[in-house]
């Protein structure tokens, strides 16, 4: 094969796998609305995401809020507007950092585990076994994870925001000496429903993207332990990139 043919073959292969990935998503989205619903599996997967990620969400939320409190205070002081510390921290968390950082954290914690789990089911023929029983593996394995992620991501994002805002308060008020009343009342003045809505929409989107990518990578893992570890790495990298790209795109719609 000459280099041009090789490049062409690679491009065709890439396009084909992207097509397969979209068909996979559309099939899964279709089955969300087709009964019977798997509530028990859904609850289990909600717990899976929540349980795995809660500690790391609280931890990163706290430190993000503290860093914001510190750095934003420093910046605002230059303009003599320290009083706006509360809304500055809250807005950057709710609109941007909360959804994005919590999504990245869940990807690393639960998303990678999800890919590994489904990948192992693939290579140990458990997915083939479901097919051989005349059943649909997408319905049993993929749909509950996508729905669970769409439910859990906004919740974990909200936890991240609350912890972050409170940590910003600790730094700004308790350590740097801002008045307590100013911090919270200014948040009330500046943080609108619109901001919360954007954060929520982002979280739902990220949940969809992460569960889709992580399920797909596991579902198409190649044979052997190596295949699963490769799939896991790819799932985390691709999810993270897509989170950041779609964050920007959604952001441009809601300026």
């Amino acid at each position: 094969m000459n280099p041009l043919e090789k490049l062409g073959a690679k491009a065709v292969g890439l396009l084909r796998s992207m097509g397969d990935m979209f068909i996979f998503l559309i099939t899964a989205l279709f089955y969300i609305f087709v009964p019977p619903f798997k509530f028990r599996v859904l609850l289990k997967q909600i717990r899976f995401f929540g349980n795995k990620s809660l500690v790391v969400i609280v931890l990163t939320g706290a430190f993000t809020g503290m860093v914001l409190g510190l750095q934003v205070f420093y910046t605002l002081r230059k303009f003599g507007s320290e009083a706006l510390l509360g809304p500055a921290v809250a807005l950057s968390l709710v609109r941007e950092l909360g959804p994005v950082l919590s999504a990245l954290m869940v990807t690393g914690r639960a998303g990678s585990a999800l890919t590994a789990e489904i990948g192992i089911m693939k290579i140990t023929e458990q997915i083939d076994a479901i097919l051989a029983m005349a059943l649909n593996p997408i319905r049993y394995l993929i749909v509950p994870n996508i729905v669970a992620a769409i439910v859990v991501f906004p919740l974990l994002g909200a936890v991240f925001n609350l912890v972050g805002i409170y940590s910003g308060y600790i730094v700004g008020v308790k350590i740097l000496g801002l008045s307590k009343g100013t911090y919270f009342s200014q948040i009330e003045n500046f943080l609108g429903m619109e901001d919360i809505k954007i954060g929520f929409i982002k979280s739902v989107f990220f949940g969809l993207i992460v569960s889709w990518v992580c399920c797909w990578k596991g579902y198409t893992a190649e044979y052997g332990a190596e295949g699963v570890s490769k799939a896991t790495t790819q799932a985390v990298v691709l999810s993270s990139v897509l989170i950041l790209v779609s964050d920007y795109i959604i952001g441009t719609f809601y300026l």
Binding site: T124, A129, A132, M133, A134
Partner: protein, 250 residues
Amino acid sequence: MIEIIELKKRLNGQLVLKGVNLRIEDRELVAIIGRSGTGKSVLIKHLIGLFKPDSGSIIIDGMDIVRFSTRQLCKIRERFGVVFQGGALFDSMSIYDNIAFPLRERLRLSEKEIEDRVSRALDDVGLLGHEHKFPAELSGGMKKRAALARALVTEPSIVLFDEPTTGLDPITLNAIFRLIKKTHRKYNFTGIIVSHDIPEIFYIVDKVAMLEDGKIVEYGTAEQIQHSSHPVVRQFITGATEGPIEATAL
């Protein structure tokens, strides 16, 4: 009746099945023997549509399943029970739930009926009392038996066994073969067993097919195979390293 005609399949650029022909009558128990990597598992997976061949047909009761739509495939799969090479038990479920899974999800049965059938299946394979364990807590032989129970619990008319005894001690091996024979007598399914366990496999099946280099090189009763003059078959059943098959262990 299952009839496989000129089945060809290329995987990763390598022609694995080079024109397989095989005809299995209803209620027959047929063994497929052959070296590691000759495509026995791939052949088995074609029968339930997990692989699509590049060419050839698979006729089951007069219908060519190769041309089937996903929906039709799903319908025909309901008649199959499959024991995968590694067991393929669901790690996240207890043995009870593993065996109940196809009943719960496919047949509209009450929880009581499900319990009855699962207990019977567990009893058949001698696993009563172990139903609340998880696959990770079972020995290799118990896993194989659990997989057997799960495949048979829906009372399929065709059962595929992919190496149900590989890696077991001789006593467990014979117990499993006896179990297959017993359930075959009881449920009268058409059975295909992939196995390396020579000569034990010869004692339970009606016919034996030998797969070598992507083709069935010999097909006949166990008696005929044991006295075959085909050099490849002779070498395989005696396990000689000298002969037409090159031993490439290293």
